[in-house]
Amino acid sequence: MSDILKLNRTVAPKFKLPCKISLPAVNSIGMQNGLQLYAINTGTVDVLRFSIVFDAGTRYQRQFLVAGTALNMLTEGTEKYGSEEIAEQLDFYGASIDVDIDRDWSCITFYSLARHFEKVMEIAEQIIKYPVFPEKELNVYRQNHKQQLIIERGKVSVIAGETLVSALFGENHYYGSFAQPEDYDKLNSHILKEFYEQHYSSKNAFMVVSGKISDREIKTVSDFFGSAAWGKAPKAEAVQQKIISSPEKTVHVPKTDGVQSAISIGKVLFNKSHCDYFGMFFVNTVLGGYFGSRLMKNIREEKGYTYGIYSNMACMKDSGYLVISAEVGDKYVKLTLEEIKNEILRLQRQKIAKNELSLVKNYITGNILRSIDGIWKIADTCIDLLQINANFEYIEQMLDEVLKITADRVLDLANRYLDADTFTTVISGRR
């Protein structure tokens, strides 16, 4: 077959990657009440996305599940509209809502066709400013989400992940504690309302709007959220709690009814404000941060022990951790642990080859471009940045740092931060 082909396929086509990227323009607009709106005009399709982010994550709750339930219950009834009316109206306008909560932040997002934006924002205002947390809807929520949590906790990956994070931060720490299904029974409307009043207000939030934006849409947001101050909550004060890691370095959580075990290996590291963050982000990518990573190549593509293995750097407001996770056949647990160890040792002992170094640099560059492409992703990235008090220039800085990194620095960082005996290992499954 090859004799008839004229094209020389043995040589890869030329490619190039930008050293500078054109950053999306963000229009930062101060509202009359002090609330900040960040508007990103991505303009081609007639849709809009509006997010409002509150400094109201689970770290601020004094009882399990309160922060998440308060957020989810915002749409379940307001002074003006009952929950069914809210659902009817949003569905009728083809709008949809996403809520998202993590340890530090809560966020509610509305997706709308441009022509219905004003109507959707009117409902959004009711939801965000005047929720009433009705008992009837709370009962339904509590019952269903309790069952959902029971199902989640039947997954070995969830068990291993939670056990690890508890071991790293301490099971009473706001970053290391996890709710039990029974905690749903302890919720009531009063507790939710109290949490809402203490954490939801124009003083404790910021807003991001993306899509086809003109002055009209800015005015709409401003009319509904930006005029008078609303809500009683002061700006959050994040009080730091001391991390108390478990001295146990290996934990086994037995679960005998499955065919696979989940492995979670990790250590407390740092967040995005640390001077070595970009460097370690790079090291983590090499190790297990993308499909072509060393862990993936070795443990999946060479040995076939797992469907997927990843390492990830989780970053929170006042800490962070690195975690390697995989679900593997029970018979591969030991072999996988050995190979993870080998890959970490290889990073510490051998300088990364030139090819791999530039491959990972290029891959990360491409990923940065992906992270700001399209109306949804651009807003997500913008929110991530605002949460660390940064703007899109941070991405530029990240790209600069990534492109500058050397093999020596990778070696140095791996030795400084990845010593095997600093990791905690959790296995959920058969022994």
Binding site: F291, E301, Y305, G329, L359, D373
Partner: protein
């Protein structure tokens, strides 16, 4: 509205190009018109296993992923019953890298014993992770063979069982490639900020010299009409009992397909939907309820499913579901409710046009269906649906003798 231009190369490869001026990336999608329905009933799971093998490099591309990643790209793929879909995004300047590696694996993929051994093992772990080691993971492994007795939809894309994957050989893989991975059995779709003529030239450069091969002419049996209600009860260690009622529905090309889609939105599209309000919220029987269509090319399934709260009587729960179905058969939906689900269909269509990769996938998908114009005309079909259509289709779909029911019971 997605504007596009269609080209057909001499070797039969179809190209669809769409220009998106707003993105710095290019999306390259390659769809092969082969899926689990083309498999030998004794070698199921093969289309999906083969998808894994396609990432093992090719004659001139030692590592598919390395060559792509070094050009800033990322890729993945999925297999379904009707087709297999490979996709890439990368900086638009580097589009030729995507064309190089995709064309090279259409020419000579690196199918070796070592690769097949490893990917067999990876797929077995995938089978375990996604189907056996997850609560409710095996639902479709049970429901498909209940609903289909003859058609290949009776097995899931992962395969009937692990043994089939274990037995896959190198020869099987080579035959599968020769039979199904020819240019005329593929559609490449590209979304990028580039003139159509230029895209065509580049695709012609990399794919044009791939020799034409005969199209696969895979015949598989069509499912005879189901004439009796079917049911299966299983017990599993899961927290909640679930009921799945899967009804036979029309083929993808039948206009009733859109009616079925709207039907499921009336049932379960959002928090104002009937199943959520009437079953989850206003009875104490269910934790969740859902309705969805399978979206298959041949006769598909319209499934209504529900998770029962603990200690709820299965018969009582099923009666509640059936009363909602009965209402759909006997009472006309209001103009308001119809308008609502149409608006929702329109909105999700518009939302799907905001992402370059999604647009590339849609172009490939509609071309595979055999009518690319549907990509922009489909909304008109939804808009034209009347309350009478909904009732008529409900009456024909929701018949006991077309239903397969799975009782997935929780035991401790």
């Amino acid at each position: 509205m997605i504007e596009y231009k269609k080209f057909i190369l001499k070797n039969g490869l179809t190209l669809l190009a769409h220009r998106d001026r707003s993105s710095t990336l290019a999306a390259v999608n390659v769809l092969y018109k082969v899926g689990a329905r083309s498999e030998n009933p004794h070698k199921t799971g093969f289309a999906h296993l083969f998808e894994h093998l396609m990432f093992s490099g090719s004659k001139n591309v030692k590592s598919f992923d390395d060559e792509l990643q070094v050009a800033g790209g990322e890729s993945n793929a999925f297999t379904c019953s009707d087709y297999t879909n490979y996709y890439i995004t990368l900086p638009k300047e580097n589009i030729e890298t995507a064309l190089w590696i995709e064309s090279d694996r259409m020419l000579y993929p690196n199918i070796t014993q070592h690769n097949i051994d490893t990917q067999r093992s990876v797929v077995i772990e995938e089978f375990n992770q996604r189907y056996l080691n997850r609560p409710y993971g095996d639902v479709w492994l049970l429901l498909r063979p209940l609903a289909y007795k003859v058609h290949p939809y009776r097995w899931a894309t992962i395969g009937k069982n692990i043994e089939h994957i274990k037995n896959a050989t190198l020869d099987n893989a080579k035959c599968f490639f020769d039979l199904h991975y020819s240019p005329c059995n593929a559609v490449i779709s590209i979304v990028s900020d580039m003139e159509y003529g230029k895209i065509y030239k580049l695709v012609e450069k990399w794919f044009g010299e791939i020799p034409a091969r005969p199209a696969s002419n895979c015949k598989f049996p069509q499912e005879p009409q189901q004439m009796e209600p079917r049911s299966l009860t299983v017990e599993r260690k899961v927290p909640l009992t679930c009921i799945y009622k899967a009804y036979k529905m029309c083929r993808r090309e039948n206009p009733d397909y859109y009616v079925c889609d709207l039907l499921t939105d009336i049932f379960a599209g959002g928090k104002s939907s009937r199943l959520y309000v009437n079953l989850v919220k206003n009875t104490n029987l269910f934790a969740r309820a859902n309705a969805f269509i399978s979206g298959d090319i041949d006769e598909g399934l319209l499934t209504v499913s529900a998770n029962l709260l603990p200690n709820v009587d299965v018969k009582k729960a099923e009666a509640a579901i059936e009363s909602e179905i009965e209402k759909m058969r006997t009472e006309k939906v209001s103009e308001y409710e119809l308008e609502k689900v149409k608006n929702k269909a329109e909105a999700s269509h518009v939302y799907s046009e905001t992402d370059i990769l999604n647009k590339a996938m849609m172009l490939g998908y509609y071309e595979m269906l055999g009518n690319i114009d549907l990509i922009n005309e489909e909304l008109d079909y939804y808009r034209a649906i009347t309350a009478d259509d909904i009732m008529k289709v409900s009456k024909s779909v929701f018949a006991d003798e077309k239903c397969s029911t799975l009782y997935y019971k929780s035991v401790n």
